[in-house]
């Protein structure tokens, strides 16, 4: 498991202290005693509890010869890549090169678009998610997604938003267990302290950054194996962005994470592996040009186009 970054530690400590200053005696047991312990807690507690309920072993994703279409338009061409478990994989590339399309094919959201067609294989944990006997609903349950703009369900409270995924498919979970999951997911998303006193308020009443963290809590509450994020910070300010990046660092202990971003600094800060998508020219399908460790992509890329893009000399 990765150690929290220096910055992450500081961030959490300061929020913890701020919170404690504001709400004097809280009845949260051990958490209150040691701020450093809390930030570690989030990481160590999660996998244990996860293993007890659903096996949340992060999964490897193998993609072979994946082609994606919108009707007759060929949007993404022959992608071959392996996405490592417990790593953050960033996807970068200019606008319109098919990053979102590709990401949405990993949890079978692409086929929801009228005309959306998929050709190729996406193998998660040995199972091709596009095999004919696989239920897309089951795939989406295993592969969670956080969208570009925060989308908490407007008619639901914060609490209901977090448990929304747990109550699906006639799953029954007892109220105390739900309470526990809500607290754990919101803590995991660094949101608990901000909302614990207003869990029954609408999720839409939060700030943009809080809403995005609520969406992350909602996605992680069902304990998926993979977490997809499509520009999750593009609507957020730098502080909220850093908070989410820290969160991503913590989450990779439990999940395979794929994140699309336009922010080069974000990709270099938050990811372990980076994939660069490119278009030869507009109208042609996007392709995965290069995939390597983030360090290599940003310091010593093999491909000229990658180098131009990451150094800002493109277009």
């Amino acid at each position: 498991m990765a150690e929290p970054t220096e910055r992450s530690q500081e961030y959490m400590d300061s929020t913890e202290k701020l919170d404690r200053g504001a709400t004097a005696p809280t009845k949260e047991g051990p958490d209150v005693t040691d701020s450093v312990a809390t930030s570690v807690d989030v990481q160590t507690v999660l996998p244990h509890e996860g293993r007890e309920s659903v096996a949340t072993v992060a999964k490897r994703i193998e993609i072979t010869d994946l082609n994606l279409y919108y009707g007759s338009f060929h949007a993404v061409k022959s992608v071959n890549m392996t996405i490592q478990p417990n790593k953050v994989t960033a996807l970068i590339g200019s606008s319109g090169c098919g990053k979102s399309t590709f990401l949405r094919s990993l949890n079978r959201m692409h086929e929801l678009v009228p005309g959306g067609r998929v050709d190729g294989a996406v193998i998660i944990d040995g199972q091709d998610i596009y095999a004919s006997n696989v239920d897309p609903v089951a795939v989406r349950r295993q592969v969670g997604m956080v969208f570009q703009s925060p989308n908490p369900f407007p008619t639901m409270s914060i609490y209901e938003n977090v448990v929304a995924g747990l109550l699906l498919n006639s799953r029954k979970t007892k109220k105390p267990a739900l309470d526990e999951i809500v607290e754990r997911s919101l803590r995991g998303a660094n949101l608990w302290n901000e909302v614990k006193d207003r869990l029954d308020r609408p999720g839409g009443g939060l700030s943009g950054g809080q809403q995005q963290r609520l969406c992350i809590a909602r996605a992680t509450a069902v304990e998926p194996e993979v977490l997809l994020m499509d520009e999750p910070c593009s609507a957020l300010d730098p502080v909220a962005t850093l908070a989410i990046e820290d969160l991503i660092q913590q989450l990779k202990a439990n999940y395979t994470i794929v994140i699309v971003t336009h922010n080069m600094q974000q990709a270099s800060r938050a990811s372990d592996v980076t994939g660069f998508f490119n278009l030869e020219q507009s109208g042609t399908p996007g392709q995965l040009v290069e995939l390597d460790t983030t360090e290599t992509i940003f310091s010593n890329p093999a491909n000229k186009a990658t180098e131009d893009y990451v150094t800002g000399r493109f277009g």
Partner: protein, 319 residues
């Protein structure tokens, strides 16, 4: 950040610097909009005043001068009862059906079928009510005989189906069904529009969590469309309350107050009663009929205000 610009702006505002000139287009449009708004209110007030004025003699009159001979309340009550009863049956039947059809169009049907179906439903809204009335008495009434007999046999313990079954099919139940068919298109059209506008990010958010299509609908489409369903139902209810010709043709009336929906003795409705009796009425009878119209006006107004209240409460709750 410096505070100087703010302060100077404040000072400028308080010093009474003229507000920017308003463009003529803006002025014309706001004038027209205001005039239209006021016009509607004046019209509504005018109708209310007319009804009240014309109804006044009947309200003041001695009970024995009113048709029926026992006073205005006794005259209007069964009519109001029949009006509400028929409209309620129609709403109870039409709303679930309309919501289901709207969902089928927006979420289940393949695009070609969906387009055709919405087109057909829009056409249904344009069919004149007299046609529905003829269909009710010539086709639906006789056809419903078997069902009504079955209802009386098997559910006869409910006051609604106590019988004896009318042999002509000119019953309140048939009226309710015809009214339901009449208001189905408008309710479907409005709800369909709103269901289709459910933000995609919410739909996809639900699906990405592993929701089935029906769960996605329950989590996002239905809550999003709830106040629209209510408004649309009220539109339909308004039309059902005021429907004249279809009811006048179909219903065999006898001025009773009964929940028995399948017998040959039925309460009439206000609108149908006015249409049937007005030509032969004179003197105070006319005023009595207009008084019943005033009652219909009041019922519709109350229904709409109640709907507004429900919608506002829903919107507050979802904030």
């Amino acid at each position: 950040m410096s505070t100087t610009p703010t302060t100077s702006t404040d000072a400028a505002l308080t010093a009474g610097v003229p507000t920017p000139p308003r463009r003529p287009g803006d002025r014309i449009f706001s004038g027209a909009a205001t005039a239209a708004g006021i016009g509607i209110l004046v019209l509504l007030a005018g109708v209310a005043i007319f009804l009240l004025q014309e109804a006044w003699p009947a309200i003041k009159a001695a009970p024995e001068d009113i048709p029926g001979g026992t006073g205005l309340v006794d005259f209007i009550a069964p009519l109001a009862f029949g009006t509400v009863l028929g409209a309620v049956i129609a709403i109870v039947l039409a709303v679930p059906m309309a919501v289901a059809v709207a969902l089928f169009i927006t979420d289940y049907a393949p695009r070609r079928i969906a387009n055709t179906l919405s087109y057909v439903i829009d056409l249904l809204a344009a069919v004149p009510s007299i046609v529905y009335g003829l269909w009710g008495i010539a086709v639906l009434g006789p056809a419903a005989l078997g069902i009504q007999t079955w209802l009386a046999d098997h559910l006869g313990f409910l006051p609604f189906f106590a019988g004896p079954v009318s042999t002509t099919g000119r019953t309140m139940l048939v009226v309710g069904v015809v009214l339901a068919v009449m208001i189905l298109p408008i309710i479907t059209a409005v709800t369909r529009e709103v269901f289709a506008r459910t933000p995609r990010i919410h739909r996809e958010g639900a699906l990405a969590l592993g929701a089935t299509r029906w769960e996605m609908i329950r989590m996002t489409v239905l809550p999003f469309g709830r106040s629209a369903v209510i408004s649309a139902s009220m539109l339909g209810l308004g039309r059902a309350l005021g429907e004249t010709m279809a009811v006048a043709i179909i219903l065999s009336v006898s001025g009773v107050v009964t929940f028995n929906l399948i017998s040959s003795t039925n309460p009439s409705t206000i609108a149908a009663n006015i249409a049937l009796d007005f030509p032969e009425s004179s003197g105070l009878d006319v005023n009595a009929l207009i008084a019943s119209g005033l009652a219909l006006f009041a019922i519709t107004l109350v229904v709409n205000m109640a709907a507004r209240a429900v919608i506002t409460r829903n919107e507050d709750a979802s904030r």
